[in-house]
């Protein structure tokens, strides 16, 4: 129909498969997000450490370069499970900041502008809405965590040879699984906290608070109650304990691994409960 005719006409064309529609939300939000210069600069900064790691791996296999830089080979760390665990910790922290930046804009504006009835009056459910919003965050988090992590592992595998790769392929599995679990948790938590408040700034502060003030809160609880259970409130520490187990690192921690898994699962369950309560087409006001 030509625009100038300005008459109503029904649609009789083809339809897209229902399972693929959740991706529309991620795609539409991605375009708007990338208009932010700060985000683009931050994403670029997030690649600095993986590139540094790749250079480090390359240098550790090229002693002539180290000699030309007057760096004794003994001062170079070994490229092993602890190296990749450190990588997870660093990039996991960068992922937290990215989550705090992107997360608030996911659900809070839709709640503030009462857009949810518009989504849910279509053949588009709550689970698809959450999946669509999560897909954007998961994509960007993956881009800065496990994808460059596997690249660094690939560089090491290429330079160290077949035997090293065969003996250490489990590190790649731990890297992939550990960072995907963290990314999934961050995305879930960002959505839940974004859905809890209608004001984006407050949602951002809440996400930062949960991720970065958890350590202080945990220390306070531990010292007041004289227990170690307070450490379970520090989600970053909880995740680092899980990473330690996944990377077979025998460092002593004050949180048992089993409890760390339970704490993470409980936090995820609370997030899902919050989402189920808040992501609705309408609210019954008592």
């Amino acid at each position: 129909m030509a625009v100038y005719k300005q008459t109503y006409k029904p649609y009789g064309g083809s339809q897209t498969p229902r399972w693929s529609r959740f991706l529309i939300l991620g795609r539409s939000s991605y375009g708007r997000l990338m208009q932010s210069r700060f985000l683009v600069l931050y994403l670029m900064a997030c690649f600095f450490f993986p590139v540094l790691c790749a250079v480090f791996v390359y240098a550790s296999h090229n002693l002539s370069i180290l000699e030309s830089l007057n760096i004794p080979a003994s001062r170079i760390f070994q490229i092993n499970n602890q190296f990749f665990e450190f990588y997870c910790g660093f990039q996991g922290g960068m992922a937290c900041l990215l989550t705090a930046f992107i997360g608030p804009g996911l659900v809070a504006p839709d709640l503030a502008n009462r857009a949810l009835p518009l989504y849910f009056s279509r053949p588009f459910g709550r689970a698809e809405y959450v999946a669509g919003k999560m897909s954007l965050l998961l994509y960007l988090l993956s881009l800065i965590t496990w994808i460059p992590g596997l690249f660094v592992f690939g560089v090491q595998a290429e330079l160290a040879g077949w035997h090293w790769t065969r003996d250490n392929v489990w590190i790649a599995g731990s890297l992939l699984a550990g960072l995907i679990i963290w990314d999934l948790f961050l995305a879930l938590m960002a959505l839940a906290l974004s859905a809890s408040v209608k004001w984006s700034l407050a949602a951002g502060a809440l996400i930062l608070g949960v991720l970065f003030a958890g350590g202080g809160l945990a220390a306070a609880v531990n010292s007041i109650v004289r227990t170690n259970y307070g450490s379970l409130l520090d989600l970053r520490q909880v995740m680092s304990v899980i990473w330690s187990q996944m990377f077979r690192d025998e460092q002593a921690t004050n949180v048992p691994v089993g409890q760390a898994w339970i704490a993470l699962a409980a936090a995820a369950a609370i997030c899902i409960w919050l989402l189920a309560r808040r992501v609705k087409a309408f609210e019954v006001v008592k």
Partner: protein, 303 residues
């Protein structure tokens, strides 16, 4: 086929009964949903699109059961909610396109129809502006555009003229009438403004405290009203009642020269004027009795 069929539908929020045992079948091109504030109009609409679960009974929208066929209902319905509803930081065309895609339109078709829908509702020139910068009237029109972008078979409008100034209201009413007359879609309009419903609807359903108190076809009411006439005569009007009875009318004298008549099918008013002229009786006033929607509504509220 009936547009809306309510079969003992009831909705509860906790212990509070919002809708109770609604039973009706409506098949007009445009149906008005009327009632005072808190009557349950919006709850009924929200139940039809699946936002509220029925506690008893069921309803069928275009033949689809709300308990079993919700995805089909949502695919064939366009919904314009009552309150401000938009996605922040989006241009109107991106917003309407996204809503079209979520309804299942391929990306290219959704973009094309988003432009068409925005031109149709009169936002063509403003379609690249951010929705947050729109006035209230423009936001209403953007909501209408997103509701029709996927070509629904039933358009549900919840208070479509809310907050509009008179010219904007006129424009909205004209759009609704055009869509109704196009015959391509049925309309369900929820409003507490009787004038809006009277101008746009063929059938009305009146709710009060969660119950149906009246359901009528406005077109039939209007046709029936044309048979009732009230007139006032001055002069020698003795014998007027008998003369009218001889012409087949039921006529009653109300005193002071005022008469009320029920005209038979095919009766021409000219006959009354001819009789009055032959007897030199002056007819001061002749009105069709107009049982307006307001009167129907007020009677329903007395129940």
């Amino acid at each position: 086929m009936s547009v809306l069929e309510l079969d003992g539908l009831g909705v509860r929020f906790g212990r509070r009964e919002i809708l109770a045992d609604l039973r009706v079948s409506l098949s007009g091109r445009s149906i008005g949903l009327l009632g005072p504030n808190g009557a349950g109009k919006s709850t009924l609409i929200q139940t039809l699109v699946g936002f509220c679960q029925p506690s008893s009974g069921t309803a069928r929208v275009l033949g689809y059961d709300i308990r079993r066929d919700l995805p089909q209902i949502r695919a064939t319905v366009g919904y314009m909610p009552e309150n401000d509803a938009f996605v922040a930081n989006m241009t109107a065309v991106a917003f309407v396109r996204m809503m079209g895609e979520l309804s299942g339109l391929p990306s290219d078709a959704a973009l094309e129809r988003a432009h068409e829908a925005l031109f149709y509702v009169g936002l063509g020139e403003a379609r690249y502006r951010l929705l947050g910068t729109y006035s209230l009237g423009m936001k209403q029109l953007a909501k209408l555009a997103q509701a029709i972008v996927h070509g629904p078979k039933l358009l549900i409008l919840d208070e479509p003229t809310n907050g509009l100034d008179p010219p904007a209201r006129q424009r909205m009413i004209r759009l609704i009438q055009q869509m109704r007359d196009s015959g391509e879609m049925r309309l369900l309009i929820c409003s507490h403004l009787l004038r809006d419903v009277e101008e746009t609807c063929e059938e009305v359903l009146i709710l009060k405290q969660g119950r149906i108190v009246q359901s009528c076809n406005l077109e039939e009411e209007r046709r029936a009203n044309r048979r009732f006439v009230e007139l006032e005569a001055v002069g020698h009007h003795h014998g007027f009642s008998d003369a009218m009875a001889a012409l087949g009318c039921e006529c009653s004298h109300l005193g002071l020269g005022r008469f009320r008549m029920v005209l038979p099918e095919g009766f021409e008013l000219r006959e009354i004027y001819r009789w009055a002229s032959s007897r030199e009786v002056e007819l001061r006033r002749l009105n069709y009795r107009r049982d307006t929607l307001e009167e129907i509504f007020m009677k329903a509220m007395e129940h």
